[in-house]
Symmetry: C2
Subunit: 242 residues, 2 copies
């Protein structure tokens, strides 16, 4: 097996850093796990023993790899990781989707994966250009929820819509949009996709024509909501609509 | 005026880094601004001129301070900042409160300030031990919303409750709690406080007796929601309850 490298987006594998994300990876996507890394100091801890047992159950090799773990995690301490194959998956055409257009922060993408999984979403489309969705930082922020979601990348919104023409788009934007409360008081078309724009620039105004523009009502005391907060509220509100 | 230091929590001042947060500080808390810092390269940009004009209107000195800005921002580029006096404020006893118990991440506190301000909350109590709520990282994550909120620190939950005995507590916890949807379908007591626990450990189980435990319903696919996401959903849901 070739030696492991510091993560870069050109690799065909990535790292799920931390015990919890590594366990999630083994549990929900064992076919993607290449091996499991553990730090000398963690081998005989309860978390280390639990991870090793699960890896053995799934037939995966566990390696002591203090140096690689140090390199993978950068500044933060990291005592375990799963090495996994990066893999896109087709989204289910009959399920609601989350669509992120040009997200630029890996922490946000991870946080949205986690919230999405929490509110029963299983499918996420990400429109390029975007941050690397398989970056270990994304996996960490997702707390391993990445391995419970189907994630697929697209070159453009047109490509996404061509692949999933059945989905009605609800576009979260600031200008000219109907309040979320009002939209949810009416009928929501199914299957639907919740579409969120870039952290700084939001969605292009022209996207309004592609579906139903929606605005999370907030006071004029703030310019906008943080992307992961807005996405989580969107997922929550659609999930629990009456 | 003494020379400016790299931020540390023992100082009685802090920095609002970035044009937007610095403008917010000048706009909403001019009495707390000591001076405004700007980078040579930003002086003649539109953002630089707007900031300088606002500082002059508020009678504040603007200094070119390339080195200090570099020190304040760490790795990220930072072309402007407001130097402000750290100050706690009494909370309004008749308004809803956000209460953070032992928060440990400055980004989360900032994101919650921003979402809170967006949903008409103006008062936040923070229970020690906690991250430094005046850290420039908090200010940055809040996008300057810190200056639109009254923030007060307490040594314990008992101290907070002694200061604001009128508030009914809604405690966001995982165990033994009623679903948020169900709680909101009933009557919400006013004034109320939404209480959120630490990122890793949540609220102590014993807190359940202090008020109404509430749980944001999420699937068993995730362990818990991210703190800033949970807090923002709590604020949103209480704000827009029927």
């Amino acid at each position: 097996m070739p030696s492991l490298s510091v993560y870069k987006s050109s690799l065909d594998y990535s790292y799920a850093p931390g015990f919890f994300p590594a366990m999630e990876c083994l549990q929900h996507a064992p076919q993607r796990v290449r091996r499991v890394l553990i730090h000398t100091e963690a081998v005989h801890t309860p978390a280390g023993e639990k991870l090793t047992a699960l890896a053995e159950e799934k037939g995966k090799r566990v390696e002591i790899a203090d140096r690689v773990l140090q390199k993978v995690s950068g500044k933060e301490n990291c005592y375990a990781a799963a090495v996994f194959t990066k893999e896109e998956m087709p989204l289910r055409p009959d399920r609601p989707h989350i669509v992120l257009h040009h997200p630029s922060d890996s922490g946000n993408v991870g946080t949205i994966l986690r919230a999405g999984a929490g509110f029963e979403y299983e499918d996420m489309a990400v429109i390029r250009p975007c941050v690397d969705v398989f970056d270990p930082k994304t996996v960490r922020a997702s707390m391993g929820s990445l391995f419970q979601m189907r994630v697929r990348l697209f070159e453009s919104m047109e490509d996404y819509q061509a692949a999933y023409p059945e989905h009605t788009l609800y576009l979260f934007m600031l200008r000219g949009a109907r309040p979320l409360q009002e939209v949810l008081a009416g009928t929501v078309a199914e299957p639907y996709a919740l579409v969120f724009g870039n952290e700084g620039s939001g969605l292009p105004d022209s996207f309004a024509e592609r579906g139903y523009p929606v605005r999370i009502e907030s006071s004029d005391r703030i310019d906008s909501l943080n992307l992961s907060v807005a996405s989580a509220i969107g997922c929550y509100a659609f999930r629990f609509r009456k």
